[in-house]
């Protein structure tokens, strides 16, 4: 792959200045996950209003892929019905990122989805399709 495919401008932009990062007090839902392969950590705080995600914040540390994925996803998640957000697929996330992801980096790209899911449904497994 050529250099700019994976680390293209938009990804690096989100990595350096992530959207919706930080904490939310008070919040209605929260979860925290680690990627066992690298020790990266991501947490989420969610405020719920009328069955929808009214606001959310991610926190933690990770690589460009996991941070950019969380940042990009966060823009989409605001306003989304909870049940929809809780069942988003791996493909949804990968498509949204729009970059080629190797098998090893898939877990980075999907870490935020895993955290989201755990916050909403209590399910701590990887989103299906994580391989």
């Amino acid at each position: 792959m050529s250099e700019d495919e994976l680390y293209r401008e938009q990804i690096l932009e989100h990595y350096k200045r992530p959207h919706n990062f930080g904490e939310l007090t008070p919040h209605d839902l929260e979860a925290f996950e680690q990627n066992p392969l690298c020790g990266d950590e991501l947490g989420v705080h969610i405020q719920v209003d009328d069955g929808r995600i009214a606001d959310l914040r991610f926190h933690g540390h990770g690589c460009a892929i996991s941070q950019a994925a969380a940042s990009i996803a966060s823009d989409e998640l605001k306003g989304m019905p909870l049940d929809q957000a809780g069942s988003l697929s791996a493909d949804w996330m990968i498509d949204l990122l729009g970059i080629p992801i190797s098998p090893t980096r898939r877990k980075c790209a999907l870490l935020n989805l895993k955290v989201m899911r755990r916050a909403i449904t209590g399910d701590s497994g990887w989103p299906t399709g994580v391989g």
Partner: protein
């Protein structure tokens, strides 16, 4: 990348009955071209360890020469190739016996896998007042771990008897379970001494109905007959690579997911953790939770090549071949004076081996005398001392066949035994 599967479909030699008396695969096994003491090698010890087809050595060699890296942690391309090779091997090996890769665990041999269940399930689920039930025909690998865990937990170890035909009685299993204290039953799919094929599906159903866990030692079954772990209904099914045309250094455990998930890990260390803090750790998902440290990577790749080779032959054909040879062996042995075979008389009720004694010839001497004719047979207790005691013998000689065994090799065994009797003046 793993070697491509052998697509070769060898023509089967047809014996009298139309069954494949030879699978005509000898040239796939380099060792069979060897001569020992000037004689061709006649290898009748496959139940101890099988010989390996060249595709197995090639797959391992190719892996180590071109794709070697550690697994599960590398970002770089070479590490991803190693991951793909190792996890691809797991999928191939699990699929070969109809199980899912996620609950297929690699260990170093089948012995380790049974220890895994004994320690990791037993330490937390057994206590005084409980019983573990095994059978008199078990290999030490399926005896001693249960003795030890019963000692540590205070549970009782009981045995199902072997009858004069060398078989278990389903009535006795039901009776033992009816006592209400049996938490786990462990037994061999195929006995490595008697050859007996146990009715696994029937037994696991009875065990499950009684609320106990079943552990099946498939070491002698997977190499020689079609095995569908799901259809067999075992909670744990274990086997070993080196007897199934694969390399040493790898054993396989298929486990029911819910049970594996409920268990504490056995070996601990790298790769099997989710997070390690100073005082406590959490565990990785299946199957990794039970694979601590660098796994047998090249060995998994080699075993995958072995099962692809077996699948290429067709396990139905392999079974037919071994049954045909077993029939021939039972017949040939019966004609040797003073010789007694243990285990069921019907070839269709047994795996491809025959254990025997000869009046006036100790098994060690039988093996020594056979060796002079280039025939390799095993002598001893075959890691089944409780069974030896039950049979009232100290040891036996054992001849066992593999996919590469030819009818003429059976005949050579019988001839060697006759000659041996003469040496001893019998």
């Amino acid at each position: 990348m793993p070697q491509a599967a052998s697509t070769r479909q060898p023509a089967a030699g047809l014996a009298e009955g139309g069954a494949p008396a030879s699978l005509a695969v000898r040239e796939d096994f380099p060792i069979l071209a060897r001569r020992l003491q000037g004689r061709p090698l006649i290898y009748l010890d496959s139940a101890s360890t099988s010989q390996k087809p060249a595709v197995v050595m090639q797959a391992m060699d190719e892996h180590l020469r071109a794709h070697n890296a550690n697994v599960h942690r590398g970002v770089y391309a070479l590490a991803q190739e190693a991951d793909a090779a190792y996890e691809g091997a797991r999928a191939t090996i699990a699929g070969f016996v109809g199980w899912e890769p996620e609950s297929t665990i690699f260990a170093k041999n089948v012995t380790e896998t049974i220890n895994l269940v004994a320690y990791a399930w037993g330490l937390d689920n057994l206590a005084a007042g409980d019983a573990v039930l095994i059978t008199e025909m078990e290999h030490h690998a399926n005896v001693v771990p249960w003795q030890q865990i019963c000692r540590r937990t205070g549970a009782e170890l009981r045995y199902l008897h072997v009858d004069e035909r060398g078989e278990l009685s389903s009535g006795e299993l039901a009776q033992e379970l009816a006592r209400g204290d049996v938490k786990l039953v462990a037994f061999a799919h195929v006995s490595n001494v008697l050859g007996t094929i146990n009715p696994v599906a029937e037994m696991t159903a009875t065990i499950r109905d009684a609320g106990a866990i079943s552990v099946v030692d498939g070491a002698q079954a997977v190499p020689q007959m079609p095995v569908d772990v799901r259809a067999l209904g075992a909670d744990f099914y274990a086997w070993t690579g080196h007897k199934a045309l694969g390399p040493t250094g790898i054993g396989v455990l298929h486990g029911r997911r819910e049970i594996l998930e409920s268990m504490e890990p056995f070996l601990t260390g790298g790769d099997m953790i989710a997070a390690v803090d100073f005082q406590r750790s959490t565990w990785n998902e299946l199957p990794y939770k039970f694979e601590a440290g660098t796994p047998p990577i090249a060995e998994a790749v080699g075993l995958a090549a072995a099962v692809r080779y077996l699948a290429g032959l067709g396990m139905e054909r392999v079974r037919a071949h071994e049954q045909e040879l077993t029939a021939r062996m039972l017949k040939a042995l019966a004609e040797v004076e003073g010789l007694s075979v243990v285990g069921p008389p019907e070839p269709q009720r047994r795996g491809g081996l025959a254990s025997f004694t000869i009046e006036g010839l100790h098994p060690h001497d039988i093996a020594e005398l056979a060796n002079r004719e280039g025939v390799c047979v095993r002598a001893g207790h075959h890691c089944a001392q409780p069974l030896m005691r039950r049979l009232g013998v100290g040891s036996t000689a054992r001849a066992s066949v593999g996919v590469y065994t030819e009818p003429r090799e059976i005949d050579a065994l019988a001839a060697a035994l006759r000659k041996g009797r003469e040496v001893f003046g019998l």
